[in-house]
Chain length 342, copies 4
Amino acid sequence: MTHNVAILGASGYTGAELVRLIAGHPDLHIAALAADRKAGMQMREVYPHLGPLDLPRLVTIDEIDFSQIDLCFCALPHATTQAVISQLPRDLRIVDLSADFRLRDPAAYEKWYGKPHAAPELQKEAVYGLSEFYRDEIRGARLVAGTGCNAATGQFALRPLIQAGVIDLDEIIIDLKAAASGAGRSLKENLLLAELYENAAGYGLGGKHRHLGEFDQEFSKIAGRPVEVTFVPHLIPASRGILATVHLRGEADQIDAALRNAYEAEPFVHMLPFGSAPSMKDTRGTNMVHIGVAGDRRQGRAVVIATLDNLCKGSSGQAVQNANLMLGLKETAGLTGVALYP
Amino acid sequence: MTHNVAILGASGYTGAELVRLIAGHPDLHIAALAADRKAGMQMREVYPHLGPLDLPRLVTIDEIDFSQIDLCFCALPHATTQAVISQLPRDLRIVDLSADFRLRDPAAYEKWYGKPHAAPELQKEAVYGLSEFYRDEIRGARLVAGTGCNAATGQFALRPLIQAGVIDLDEIIIDLKAAASGAGRSLKENLLLAELYENAAGYGLGGKHRHLGEFDQEFSKIAGRPVEVTFVPHLIPASRGILATVHLRGEADQIDAALRNAYEAEPFVHMLPFGSAPSMKDTRGTNMVHIGVAGDRRQGRAVVIATLDNLCKGSSGQAVQNANLMLGLKETAGLTGVALYP
Amino acid sequence: MTHNVAILGASGYTGAELVRLIAGHPDLHIAALAADRKAGMQMREVYPHLGPLDLPRLVTIDEIDFSQIDLCFCALPHATTQAVISQLPRDLRIVDLSADFRLRDPAAYEKWYGKPHAAPELQKEAVYGLSEFYRDEIRGARLVAGTGCNAATGQFALRPLIQAGVIDLDEIIIDLKAAASGAGRSLKENLLLAELYENAAGYGLGGKHRHLGEFDQEFSKIAGRPVEVTFVPHLIPASRGILATVHLRGEADQIDAALRNAYEAEPFVHMLPFGSAPSMKDTRGTNMVHIGVAGDRRQGRAVVIATLDNLCKGSSGQAVQNANLMLGLKETAGLTGVALYP
Amino acid sequence: MTHNVAILGASGYTGAELVRLIAGHPDLHIAALAADRKAGMQMREVYPHLGPLDLPRLVTIDEIDFSQIDLCFCALPHATTQAVISQLPRDLRIVDLSADFRLRDPAAYEKWYGKPHAAPELQKEAVYGLSEFYRDEIRGARLVAGTGCNAATGQFALRPLIQAGVIDLDEIIIDLKAAASGAGRSLKENLLLAELYENAAGYGLGGKHRHLGEFDQEFSKIAGRPVEVTFVPHLIPASRGILATVHLRGEADQIDAALRNAYEAEPFVHMLPFGSAPSMKDTRGTNMVHIGVAGDRRQGRAVVIATLDNLCKGSSGQAVQNANLMLGLKETAGLTGVALYP
């Protein structure tokens, strides 16, 4: 049975990535595409690479008849999302890709996003969308909040280790390298090719990156006590991809074993041989996470490197995976593509 | 019914691309992978991005039991291919991706490749593999010779125009921009990132590029008289993709009409609105060709720009398309992926 | 004797490039830097790479005491330039980098820029700033109009050939590849790294690019009759550089000889051995033009490839060269840096 | 007075960079260029970007008359350097850019490089070439050993902090991002543009990178006790540049103050405002180091980010700086170029 889906915010990168994935999905059909400022246009006018596809014309959200929609992907900017979702039918299944419903605690939301949440009751209802770790809740959820792409990468490296108790919780450093599309199709000087080509730079120094809110929430919950990590993201010259190098205190072999154990049956997490360094490009365009573990010359120290495609596993691929769970489909449906390399 | 295929030369870029495409193909199964120098290794040791796939171990060609193989993809280097294919069973269906069987005329082969052909009888048997134009011959063929990736791009822009008689055959200039992977995984200084990043340069100046042999053969055949084009390729800093800008004498509207007419029913050729410039990246990872036509301020002059992914539509995707035809499968099977953008 | 210069529009790429070049110039001193919207800021806040330099604070144009300025570089956006220069002292030497004074003919200006010129008397006074060809006029000029960067590249390939009468004037095709910084620090989607990385595309198809106005003016003047070229520019993934491939009718050896003859004594034009293809990166950061000539397999056809750095020889380096001429300095002063390779 | 210099190993990247820098040096003259395998060629045949320069033809080392040479730059591969320098005149001033003389202790050399040193007496004589910290020794030295480019970057971030005692010596993590040219002009698959474009990956995991030998030697010497750091380098898609993110235990304000104090009078080290992240590209082509310091949300933790151009300040620029010291020239001579941005 084919399920009708709508995509709100179809003109952004995550919207276009949803279209790409759903176009190859055996059980989902794109019934509506909304993009307020581009309503009336064809998707191929916004993204010529989608030209060969037969897609509905872009409309405003108001024009969508949600009674015909089985599930709605919401790929709108942060903050506007709260207002939009509040107006949608209360029985509509929603996978949200924004930051608006990732944090459970209203105080934490206000701390990291600078203003009170406008839909606190929905915030309570939302399930955190890291599929591999919230599978059962997601299956029964109406509103699933997709994770931050950086937050996802760090969690794939760390959650099983906190769970297994094999690392020092006070000595976690996430040094992350992120491609430009993580910032969306936003017109900022530092995202221009002329500026970012041949370049690399940290950002959000001083513990200010909002994905820290997700790390705090999730790691503290697993550990049963407050966990604060150090997180230093960098922008590198690439269009897609995140590579997180996590510096840890712990025995490398125990760390490796804990990860292998956790991910043994996971179709979307691939462990490299011990001592190997994963390459960011090896996950490009896929819903995969690649992870490598190595020790240090000093006993009791290790590094875990996790990499994924920020637009796919980090957002739109994860969203499709969650939609599969919510609709009772095969979890891997539409997500089995192989990485584009080179 | 699933067909078993073998890939000879699996460790090169076109070999890896075949694996990527066939892994998502509903009717093909990879039964054997050969790579002489890497025999014994797992494919994931050569290409970690294929790590999540369950693939046969690399073997030597001699180790393959061809009685179990329905079709063999041959992605070996030029020249060695002739020797290898001569030794394969005479009833084995073969899609060759090398340059060895592209030219019908032994004299032309010797002219462009600098030595006599070692398997002239096979050369006669081979069908030129530009699927859209040799569909019927390919369906009945045993040995199909994949085209050059540059040669394919130029032909998609030009064949219908020569056929329709709407351009001056003596005034065809193909100014082509090619990504680095067109040269394969070869260790050459000019392919190093440190050299090619921030760079661009012509190559093969003076009418020396071997793909001219294909242009000559095909265009002269269509025109019924000798046609010689000017062809100036350039290397640009990208890993995949070819963009051919073809400068022509003719009326732009007639040119546009002839191309639309020719490609109206073609699933893998997408015509942009008149006056639009296609973007190379819009075909990345797909079996699509995107084509745009524009006039000039001077009447009687026009430009046709055609772009495709050299590793996919330019070689491995084309090869799968041809295999589909040879095996009586749906021509688009396994080739419907959407471009990876951004 | 050191000359004081001012830079108006210092916050753009050509402004920053002027600062880079003048910082190493033995005879010029930066006395004032203006950038209206960023007035009050330090240059290092706009461009951290200039942090180590001791530079005046950014001011508005009104704040500059032009009585202390020997020469003014005007790197403002097109159109606003006319208004600004009209208000500057009439005896102030000006090197303008905008498009506003490149075209001699008011009708041509209106045709290519879509509105009447606001300072036609200054338009008459201005000297076209292609240093190698207007040296004497520039020496005596008060207002010099820098050329378009694409227009400069094409002219270096073509002017001596038109002058020498060795090419067919009706069959000139300029297929140009340009880096992103040619569009300035402008926030446009197609200039984002995420979009341009792995990409290439034509633009301004149909003979619409404004630099055609310069080609028409200059080539017709040399030829003594109207000359119209075909010009198809492309954007490629690089931050700096232009490579123009010029397809011609003419004898390659005569073409090569005419160029060598013209540039024999030119310090900033380097001819490669016959048949060689210049690499864009070989001129990066310099005031050099590299040119290569090759024949075709068909007699009477040739290709000339010229390359330069759009921000340096294509604009700011050219501007310094012109300032040197206007101030009676050594023409090469401050411009002898070697290309940054790799 | 002009000093004659020779460059051995002129055909590598550091050799070409030496030529670039010395071509603009007021007091040095390139009297000889040696490259054994390319002897007899002109430098412009190896590096066309040097085409405009008037340079001596490449010769073998044996052909050089060292009696006419005031100082010799040795940019040869590791290991062969020992043999070559042993044969050079004992009174010849040498700046070596290889790894052969960086480690004082023969046992340390054997540990990191896998075989005994072939010229232990020269090893003793050599002075470590980090100019800012060995200025006096370098002035009087005959043989100066240039540092590793990664090792230099890490030391600029750390030496003043160890000296000032403001960080925990057991908790130093250097997470480094390096461009491709750091590996030289070597033909390796992972350095191909097709592989490294859109990619990023760690390497040398497990504490195996040879530059650790330099860190150990230098940091332990300053601290007066053994210091072992964690060092995880990554390759990113850029041709030049290193960015080292150093994660530390210590008070950010004290760290910032110690660095400012140490570098206050240094012409080649630029401290950014507290909390700022330096951009790799801001040092491109220069002899500058840019450093930024930020705290963490957790008290007692900080990050120091240092960046430089691996081919310039990281090797050839450093070498020229050392040559200036050895020859009694102004330390900054020939090294005042501004970064090429964008």
